[in-house]
Symmetry: C2
Subunit: 224 residues, 2 copies
DNA sequence: ATATAAATTTAGACAAGTCTAAAAAAAATT
DNA sequence: AATTTTTTTTAGACTTGTCTAAATTTATAT
């Protein structure tokens, strides 16, 4: 059966993307309330929409059992994520936005409909593999690299880590990182870990800083 | 009275832009039917919308008298035109689209809401003054150059003209120009004009071509 | 096992924008 | 001036997506 081309509304796309991101995160089907919370809408509205998406075979749904994406729904979600992240790259690399400023704009731009636009944008940006927050960009066929979930918080004293992504993309978190001079690529050495609250002293560029567990739990790193 | 910031829907913006372009063209208030035709909607829908825009003081409206933009409405329209044309420049200059492919995409992109995006895009594009069809781009204060309405059709035998814009931006017209090797900046010499149908023989880059009146009426030129 | 609490779904209403059909006004013809 | 035609407006219905309030189901706690 060939992939039908769907013309989805902006709203439908937002629901699909939201279900996708929660499902990835939790690894199981997504509750009505979770979706409502993330979309800042009401549970009753969510029920309506997932029933509609279920009729379109984009969502698996049984009453009171939560929702999960079908493979077709997942493939649409990945396309939306691809558009979102490529636009974020453009905004940061070309238009000189800071990494904490681009999310809301990308939320709009990801819904622009065109058969050719995103591939042309990707070529213009020279095929970036990650967005400004370190998240992988799916390729044109929907293949997406798996984020290895190593958080800074799991590192041990004496280890060296390189920052490769942020879990929380909120402006307040990103601005804190700017202030502390932590960016993608930063090389951090764990000097010590406080038993009581799991805060860490890290060395970054020769400078030592204390970092709360709240922070270290939101930084993806790779050890080296 | 200070300029209120309006949050208009995409639909409202499209009505305003449509009224603007017809009003500019005709120089008088715009009939319900004309708007309906251009927006491919029904007259009754148009009546509803212009009444709504009238309540918002963006449109002057008296029953059965057609609609015209207030100065506030006009200022909004110019902003939309600015966004449209800057996006068209980006699509052609940076993403390698042809000039006949960008209109529908710009129709979507012009509705992206942001206080900063368009000025940043304009800077990135290095402050272009005209879009790919030769139409002037309003500056950030809403000032827009007046197109001098000299059409190629009004040129006389022996005169030299430079193409500076197209009146019709339809894909079929633009593709015809591509085929005939006429582009913005092309220098045309009028070799002869046929009395019967006002078709012209023009010389372009050393090559002579016959051009119908339909064509010459849709090319903005300046004489030199 | 029952009672209580929490989550989910249904029912009914509303706003935005659209449409068709009918009524009213304006314009064009005779 | 009266009639016909065209344009515009109104009335009522429909769609998408939202909400509140009430009903139902599932989960939790006694
Ligand atoms: Mn984002
Ligand atoms: Mn991102
Ligand atoms: Mn255009
Ligand atoms: Mn244009």
């Amino acid at each position: 059966m060939q992939l039908m081309e769907f013309k989805l509304s902006q709203t439908e796309e937002n629901y699909i993307k939201t279900i996708y991101s929660i499902e990835i995160h939790l690894g199981k089907s997504v509750s009505t309330n979770k979706i409502a919370e993330k979309l800042k809408t009401k549970a009753s509205s969510v029920t309506d929409m997932i029933q509609k998406l279920s009729e379109k075979k984009l969502v698996n749904y049984k009453k009171y059992q939560g929702a999960s994406l079908t493979s077709e729904g997942k493939s649409i979600a990945v396309k939306i994520v691809r558009r979102h992240r490529l636009w974020e790259v453009f905004l940061v690399n070309n238009l000189d936005y800071a990494w904490d400023e681009v999310h809301d704009l990308a939320e709009q731009l990801e819904h622009i409909k065109s058969k050719t636009l995103i591939d042309k944008l990707e070529a213009y940006l020279e095929y970036p593999t990650h967005d400004p927050h370190g998240d992988p960009i799916p390729d044109r066929n929907g293949n997406i690299e798996h984020h290895k979930n190593i958080m800074l918080s799991s590192a041990k004293v004496g280890e060296n880590c390189q920052v490769i992504g942020v879990k929380d993309s909120s402006s307040s978190f990103l601005k804190f990182l700017d202030k502390t001079n932590i960016k993608l690529g930063s090389q951090l050495k764990i000097i010590s870990i406080e038993d009581f609250d799991h805060s860490m002293i890290i060395e970054n560029n020769g400078i030592q800083n204390s970092i709360s567990n709240q922070i270290s739990k939101n930084l993806f790193v790779k050890k080296y």
